[in-house]
Amino acid sequence: MTLLRHLAAAVAVGAVVWALSVQLNAFRDFQMAQVAVYVVAIAGLSLLIGLSGQISLGHGAFMAVGAYTTALLMLHLNWPIWAVFPASAAVTALAGAVVGLAAARLHGPYLAGATLMLAVALPSLASQFPGVLGGDQGLSVTVVPPAALGATFPPTRWLAWVCALAALIALVILANLGRSRVGRNWRAIRDDPVAAALSGLNVAALRVLAFIVSAACAGLAGSMLAVTTSLVSPGSFTLSLSIALLAGAVLGGLGTLTGALWGALVVVLVPTYVTDVATSHGLSGGVAANIPIAAYGVVLIVVMLVFPYGIQGGLRRLAGQFLPSSPTRLGPPARRAPTGERTEDLDSPYRRPPVSEHQEEGTS
């Protein structure tokens, strides 16, 4: 049932994406592809942090692994795109397993530090092996729309379709995983590892598994990024990418897939939109150049102040305040809309019954 529901949702979103890709101009198509890239990467990271309770500042490095795998497979073996995506995700999952083995033994700041090191060190491997990895110049990746679509078919629309499809498949898998026994186990080890271990869960193995799944997402996203930007070079996988992913996950709402979409939209669209506004108002170069960074910071601060649980958490909270008063076919109000702030995980089946929280809000 869950699978069917998620598939239905994916088909619906896919239809919307298709309609938009045909309606909007070529650059918006390109941005849709970019959003798809970030949705996958952020969803993976969000799952790692929000469900399994681990942190990673090194997801940019996993994206680099996926991107370089893609470039090498396409350059040397001419693999088609539908084979390259899963292969890149698999290779990166392997890298995630290695890192995850170490990560399962680390906590908090130590884990952050170890993954931070990964983000800094891994991309510079490309400079160390210029023969294979192309050095600072990187490797180029060429993807053209299939000839069947016609010579005048916009390449960016093809990119948008490919990336959106890959993203939807990944999200359906993640959504099911989150609802499955594995997902529940992750929540258990996040909320109380000792209690989870006493209940018979293998905490270390679950943590490694979370890292593997999360890395696979990052690898897929890296692969999509390589296809979108048609170039893989170390300059694309700096520390700031890893930080942007983390910021996107937190902004959108940790542990939720819809939140990953919000985060990706903010990461991709805010800088472009603000640059347009800044340059069209004739601000001086030095000021205009730095406004997107400042605006991004402001968005981050405002969202965290207004919606401490991210945009998705904020929306659910709003929905929770407005919907219960109206007659509904969705079930008794007390059970439906989450309003609590007790746990980071908005989907958690272990969340306390919201009744007491309504009472608290009534008094405030």
Binding site: A12, A26, T156, S236, L261, T272, Y273, T275, G285, P292
Partner: protein, 442 residues
């Protein structure tokens, strides 16, 4: 629990729709080809009043110091042209976007400029790794990609990149000119190389090797820009007994090598490529780095005597008509920036673009611009002619040797020209550089 599941589908769908529709609204007026009013539009980006061009520039990030001055300086010259009648009556509008020297962002902003803003041409995109990310896309889209701010010889490939043109002296030619000078003036001396391990440094070394006898080269040390510890390279160069060091390095690494060599007590003659020797930038970096290490140095004292090369008139040559023109434009439209090598570069490359647009005629098309440049451009602010032809998309063919004296480059001897082949001779340029037009317009 079921309730939250059932909510999800409409929520996600609504979210996607709302956000993308909102995003779509942002694109607004620019969705039509040619963008706007023009009944007279002959090509994308051209209206009855305006030519819109775009660029990717490192306005923030690691490459921003110095390089971020280039686009505003180019824009200053365009404003000057616009105030003096424009190009055949059309005003140039220059939209340069920040890519932070990150190739992924370069791809993103160039797509935006081409697909959404419908620019006529990409002009002076900065950086080798960044521009390599978009050169294929621009050529596939048949968008002119002119006067790239990088001396990589890779742009000169008309068969693969018919729409792409270099501008500045390429690193192979530069290496040959420096190499020929070393062969003549430092015969028998031991020479060490210090170069950035990418297309920039490797092209430079290629040019040097075409001229300098291999027996004279006692050590070859490279660096990557992400590792700022060049102590090992300085020690190795010292141990090899090199009396002269040739550096194809960016300013920060020229400064680091200079300081590292002082530390190990090694004092060779420094020969540094044009990219790494803007005296103002270099002196500032030397002082800043030394201060971090707890020492006080005079930047101008340390840069004294560095041998380099140049392809634009020197800033110190105030009697030069080009310097006078660019100073006038700078003082009127870009006075906040210091008048240094980067500003000079930006104005000079903008001048070349206006030359090309004028040659492309009254109703310019993209193919027309490419044809205009391919049939050759008159020598403008550059000290040597351009290598533009149907088979050559390179850029300037030569430059002069200079020495830094009291914080300014002083030209030594004549202008030299050469080609990019292993055997092509380095010969003295016999022509003279024409003076800048009195109107300041090409």
């Amino acid at each position: 629990m079921n309730t939250s599941h059932r909510l999800r589908l409409p929520v996600i769908a609504a979210a996607v729709t709302a956000s993308l529709v909102a995003a779509g609204c942002g694109s607004g007026s620019s969705s039509g080809p040619g963008g706007g009013s023009g009944a007279a539009a002959s090509a994308p980006g051209i209206t009855s009043t305006e030519i819109l061009i775009g660029s990717h520039q490192p306005l923030t990030g690691p490459a921003a110091p110095g390089y971020s001055e280039i686009a505003p300086a180019a824009n200053a010259y365009f404003q000057y042209v616009n105030a003096h009648g424009g190009v055949n009556g059309l005003k140039i509008k220059y939209k340069y976007l920040d890519d932070g020297y990150d190739p992924s962002k370069t791809v993103s902003v160039v797509h935006q400029l081409v697909l959404q803003d419908n620019v006529f041409s990409i002009f002076n995109g900065l950086g080798t790794p960044t521009h390599l990310a978009v050169v294929k896309y621009l050529n596939a889209s048949k968008v002119p990609d002119v006067f790239i701010a990088s001396g990589c010889n890779c742009w000169n490939n008309p068969a693969a990149y018919p729409y792409t043109f270099g501008w500045q002296l390429d690193y192979v030619r530069e290496g040959k000119i420096l190499g020929a000078y070393l062969k003549q003036h430092f015969a028998g001396k031991k020479i060490g190389y210090f170069y950035q391990n990418d297309e920039f440094g490797q092209d430079g070394v290629k040019g040097l090797d075409f001229e300098i006898p291999h027996s004279q080269v006692v050590s070859r040390q490279s660096y990557v820009p992400t590792n700022v510890n060049v102590g090992p390279q300085a020690s190795a160069l010292k141990a090899s007994g090199a009396q002269v060091v040739v550096a194809f390095s960016i300013p920060a690494f020229t400064a680091l090598l200079k300081l590292a060599s002082l530390k190990v007590g090694w004092n060779p003659t420094f020969v540094v490529s044009n990219v790494g020797t803007d005296p103002t930038t270099l002196a500032g970096l030397l002082e800043a780095f030394a201060k971090k290490g707890g020492a006080n140095v005079s930047g101008n004292q340390l840069t004294q005597g560095i041998i380099t090369d140049g392809y634009l008139p020197t800033l110190g040559d105030t009697g030069n008509s080009w310097i006078a023109l660019f100073k006038k434009v700078h003082d009127t439209y870009d006075a906040k920036a210091p008048l240094d090598g980067n500003v000079l570069y930006g104005e000079a490359v903008a001048y070349t673009f206006v030359q090309a647009m004028l040659k492309a005629g009254k109703n310019p098309t993209r193919a027309g611009l490419v044809k205009a440049i391919s049939s050759g451009l008159p020598q403008g602010a550059a000290v040597a002619p351009y290598d533009y032809s149907a088979t050559g998309h390179g850029g300037m063919m030569g430059g002069y040797i200079g020495v830094i004296k009291n914080g300014a480059v002083v030209q030594q001897g004549p202008v030299w020209t050469t080609d990019t082949t292993p055997t092509g001779a380095v010969t003295q340029f016999t022509g003279t550089q024409p003076a800048a037009p009195a109107s300041g317009m090409p």
